[in-house]
Subunit: 344 residues, 2 copies
C-alpha cells in the first residue's frame, strides 16, 4: 500500500502507459496528434490511478488557474449566496473553483482583495453588490474578464447584470390589477436606493396603462418592518378605501400585514399585499404567505459565469448594464387559498 498522500503525477501515468510525458499530456488534454489507441490507454490508466493534474504546475505555463474570484460587499450574504450558487452550477464542478472575498463595503479593502485575486491569477472576477445602486468601477486595467452582478458598474465599458427593477414594479402592480384591485398604494424604502425609484416607476407605468394612478403618493423611508407598520397606519387612516398595497420590500410588507391585521383588514379579501425580494424566511413566515417579486439572482450568477467563460476563451464579453427579468411569486397575500399561513 502506497503512503496515503502519494500524489500520482503525470510521469507516473506516462510510465505506466509506456509513453512519454509529453504524449500522456497531449492525450489527456485532447490534443489531436495522438493515436486513438494510445489516448484510450492513457486515459484508462489515468482514470485507474485517479490522476488529477496539479493545477499549480498546469497554471504555471498556461497562465490559467481555473479559478474565479467572487468579490462581494454583501455582509448578510442574502444576495451573494444565490448568485454564488448560480455561478457554481455554471462552472463545471471541479474544473473551476471560486475564491470568495468579502470586502465589507470598504473600497480600500476591496482594492486589497482585488490585488490578492489578481495575484492568484484568477481567470475572471464576479463583483457582487449588496444593493442595486450603481457602484464605481473596480479598475480599468484588469487583465481578466470582470462581470458586475446586482450592483451595476458606473462605467458603461464594464459589463453589468442587474435585476430589472422597473419590470418588478410593473408586474407587481399588474398582478394587483389582475386580482381586481384598483385603489393601489405604494410603500417603499430608502429613497437613496435607485431600486426604490425603479420599482415605483414601473408600478406607476402599469397603473397608467390601466388608466389609473396611485391612490396616494408613494412614500419612502427605510427598508424595515417598523416603517411598514407606521406607514400602513397612516395610509389606512387617511385612505381607508385602499384595496391593494405594493410594498417595496418583503420586510416592509410584513409590517403592512401586521398593521392591516390589527386594523381589522382581511388579507387578501379586503386588501391585497405584495412584497419584493422573495426573502424566504420573511415571505413564508408571514400570515398569510407573501406574494412577492423574485429577482432570480441564481440566474444572474449563472449568466455571469457564462460571460466569464466566454471572456476566458478570448471573446468580448460585452458592456453596459443588462437588465435581467424578474419573476412574480404568488402566495396567500394576494390570492385566497394560496399558502394561507406560511409553511407551518
Amino acid at each position: 500500500m502506497a503512503p496515503v498522500d502519494a500524489v500520482v503525477t503525470l510521469s507516473d501515468v506516462a510510465r505506466e502507459a509506456g509513453v512519454s510525458i509529453a504524449t500522456a499530456s497531449k492525450a489527456l488534454n485532447g490534443k489531436d496528434d495522438v493515436a486513438a489507441e494510445t489516448r484510450r490507454r492513457v486515459l484508462a490508466i489515468a482514470e485507474a490511478m485517479s490522476f488529477r493534474a496539479n493545477p499549480m504546475a498546469k497554471g504555471l505555463n498556461t497562465r490559467l488557474s481555473g479559478t474565479v474570484g467572487l468579490l462581494t460587499g454583501d455582509l448578510e450574504g442574502r444576495f451573494m449566496i444565490p448568485i454564488l450558487t448560480g455561478a457554481e452550477n455554471a462552472f463545471v464542478n471541479g474544473r473551476v473553483d471560486v475564491f470568495l472575498c468579502d470586502a465589507r463595503g470598504d473600497a480600500i479593502r476591496e482594492q486589497h482583495q482585488l490585488r490578492a485575486l489578481l495575484n492568484r491569477r484568477v481567470d475572471g472576477i464576479i463583483v457582487v453588490g449588496a444593493s442595486t445602486n450603481p457602484r464605481s468601477s473596480l479598475a480599468h486595467d484588469i487583465p481578466v474578464p470582470v462581470v458586475y452582478v446586482n450592483a451595476p458598474s458606473e462605467n458603461p465599458d464594464d459589463l453589468s447584470l442587474a435585476p430589472d427593477e422597473f419590470m418588478g414594479g410593473r408586474i407587481a402592480v399588474e398582478h394587483l390589477l389582475a386580482c381586481g384591485r384598483t385603489r393601489i398604494a405604494h410603500i417603499s424604502g430608502d429613497p437613496a436606493y435607485t431600486a426604490a425609484h425603479g420599482r415605483a416607476a414601473g408600478a406607476r407605468a402599469a397603473l397608467r396603462d390601466a388608466g389609473l394612478d396611485f391612490v396616494a403618493d408613494p412614500v419612502f423611508s427605510e427598508w424595515s418592518e417598523q416603517w411598514g407598520r407606521s406607514a400602513t397606519a397612516m395610509l389606512l387612516g387617511r385612505h381607508p378605501d385602499v384595496d391593494g398595497i405594493f410594498a417595496g420590500s418583503d420586510q416592509i410588507a410584513r409590517g403592512v400585514l401586521d398593521t392591516a391585521r390589527e386594523l381589522g383588514r382581511e388579507v387578501p379579501d379586503d386588501l391585497s399585499v405584495i412584497g419584493y425580494d422573495n426573502w424566504e424566511v420573511i415571505a413564508t413566515g408571514s400570515r398569510p404567505g407573501l406574494t412577492t417579486v423574485d429577482a432570480q439572482l441564481q440566474d444572474l450568477g449563472r449568466l455571469a459565469a457564462q460571460r466569464i467563460f466566454e471572456g476566458i476563451d478570448g471573446a468580448d464579453i460585452g458592456a453596459g448594464v443588462r437588465q435581467q427579468p424578474v419573476r412574480l411569486v404568488v402566495r396567500g397575500s394576494t390570492v385566497p387559498g394560496r399558502a394561507p399561513a406560511g409553511r407551518g
Copy 2:
C-alpha cells in the same frame, strides 16, 4: 509605460537589486543567511515594483497553496457567512484565500468537492454544517488539517468546534429568572435536532438550580413562526399564568410574540420572551426586539482558522468536540425599554 499586465517577477526584482534570484528569494522569505543591507535593498525594490510572488510557482515546490477550502452544506448561508467572516479575519488578508464550495447537503457532491479541493492542494479544510447535528466524517485519509464547525463530526478523532447548546439553554433561562420570572415554559423546534435537546436540557438545569421546573413539559415540532404561534395559543390557553417563554429559535419566538400580543399579553411586562440564534432580521424586526442567544459563529470561524494554521505548521490540531461558549443578547422582549420596537 510597461504593458498593463506586465507581471513583475522575482528575476525582475533581482536584476534591479543587482543580486541573484536566489539571494532575492532568501531576502524576501526572511532566510537569515543574507546581509542586512542586501535584504533592505531587495525588500525596498520589491515594494517599489509591487512584486508579488506567483503563488503557483511558489506552491509548486513548497507544496503549500496558501488556500483553504470551506465546504458547506448550508444553502441559506445563515451560518456559513459569519463563520467565513471569522475565518477570513484570522487568515491574514492576501496570504490565505478561501475556496467556497457548496455541497448542498448532498454526500456525493460533498465527496466530489472534497476531491476537487484536495486536487487544488488546499492547505486545510473547514467543514461547515447547516445544523449542529453530528455529521459523518469526510474521510479518514485527508492529508491536510480538517476542522468541523457548527456540525461536529461523528468521528472523535476529528476536531470539531460547536456551539454549546446546553450553555445556551442555561443562560436563556438564567436570564428569565434574573428578570424575576418563575413560571417558565419552553417551545422548541424539530426534535430530530440535537440542538433542541441540548437547549432544553440546559434550560432545565438552570431551573433545577433555582429549585424550579418548567410549568409545562417542553414541546417540540418545527422551527417555524407558525408553530410558535399555535404552540403559544395552546400554552397560554392551558397555563395562563406563564410569565416567561424560552423559544428554541428566533422564528418560533416571533410566533410567540405575535400570538401573545393577540391574546392581550404585554411583552415584556406580563410575559418575557427569549429566542435563539440572534438572526438579525428576525430578532430586530419584531415588536419588541427579541432577546436571544448568539452562537458567536464568527468566533468559531476564527478559531477554526487558527487551528488550520497550527496544523499547517505541523502541530497536532487536536480532536474531539469542543463546545464553544454562546452569549446572551438582550433586547426589549425581556427587559423594558431595550430596543422596544426593533430598529425602525
